[in-house]
């Protein structure tokens, strides 16, 4: 009886193992095909975002994974990547990609900070973890355009918090997160000199 049971376990395990193996092989094959296009898509996204926030040449700055910046309000914001911007050989400021925590996860945002300390613009690369129809509306230009011209001194805030950013209807958390992201980016840029 015991031997029979043992055999059954081996058989069940064997079948499951075989199925898992085949599925894993298929996944490996698909991954091999898609890894390059996906990397290219991400690069295009970043380049588009850079072009949108500042019209200048970019040069990536190395940012250690998991780097965070604490804003004046005490929010920890993750810095994803950063770029030193130059235009016609002149220092043009920085572009910093931040991922402040919104309603459902990180709101991936590119922030442009000019050398004279103003926000040149922001571009929200991904707000897919925010509520569709509410927080996800943050990718619309009407919202993003408000940030251009704001001071890069950590005082960007939504109207409710005494700032001048008109929050998205029903998505104060997302709007606040983006504002804090902008502040963190400004602080990070200031630390770079």
């Amino acid at each position: 009886m015991a031997g029979k049971q043992k055999n059954e376990f081996v058989q069940l395990g064997g079948v499951l193992c075989a199925i898992t193996l085949v599925v894993a092989l298929c996944l490996g094959a698909v991954n091999a095909i898609t890894v390059e296009p996906i990397a290219k898509q991400n690069q295009i996204k970043t380049e588009n975002a850079l072009a949108q926030v500042m019209d200048a040449d970019s040069e990536p700055i190395e940012v250690a994974e998991g780097t965070t910046v604490k804003t004046d309000k005490g929010t920890d914001v993750e810095i994803v990547s950063a770029y030193k911007m130059t235009k016609d050989g002149q220092d043009a400021g920085y572009c910093v990609e931040v991922a402040p925590t919104g309603f459902g996860g990180g709101v991936d945002t590119m922030v442009g900070i000019s050398a004279d300390g103003t926000i040149t613009g922001i571009s929200i690369i991904s707000a897919s973890s925010e509520t569709p129809g509410l927080g996800a509306n943050s990718t619309k230009p009407e919202f993003q355009d408000q940030f251009a011209g704001q001071p890069a001194d950590g005082t960007v805030a939504v109207e409710k918090d005494g700032g001048s950013i008109v929050a998205l209807t029903g998505a104060t958390i997302t709007s606040r997160a983006v504002s804090e992201g902008v502040n963190a980016a400004a602080k990070f840029a200031a630390e770079q000199g």
Binding site: L12, V23, T34, I38, G170
Partner: protein, 196 residues
Amino acid sequence: MSFGKNLKEGLFTNNPVLVQLIGMCPTLATTTSVINGVGMGLSATAVLICSNIVISLLRKFIPNKVRIAAYITVIAGFVTMIDLLLQAFIPSLSASLGLFIPLIVVNCIILGRAEAFASKNSVGASAVDGLVMGLGFTFALVVMSVVRELLGAGTIGGGLITVFSQPATIMILPAGGFLTLGFVIAVMQKLLKKGE
């Protein structure tokens, strides 16, 4: 059974969402705009057809005792492949459906059809079943998302046409999802009763 009869069953008389009441989670979560609804419906249909075919092929090979684990492995495999392919080749759809694609793994319509149909029927019949059930799911999502987008965002077709500018935001929030689902099911029941 003819394909037409199958189709009618999938879309109306045995609609997975509106009659069988399975797959509620993606139904409520993704129907905030028509584009999301259609994208989710078609992605799930693709997974459903593939998984039904494979599970039907393997139905004699998979031991009864570990069948659920085997089904989930197959389904998760297909979902991950579709996720990667969307990211690589249709990035715009992948961006808007983002979070929901991996959720197809736990869509009970897919596991439900594997268990109730594909594990007992031939490959051809299972493929047809996957197609009609997938279309039924898509149909339900489209009906839901048209209502919710129109009332909740005041637009038609994913923001293509703005109908009015003061929408009832609650309709695209979870509460609106439940409200819409209740009314759509009620209408469906009324129509089905009439048809009998």
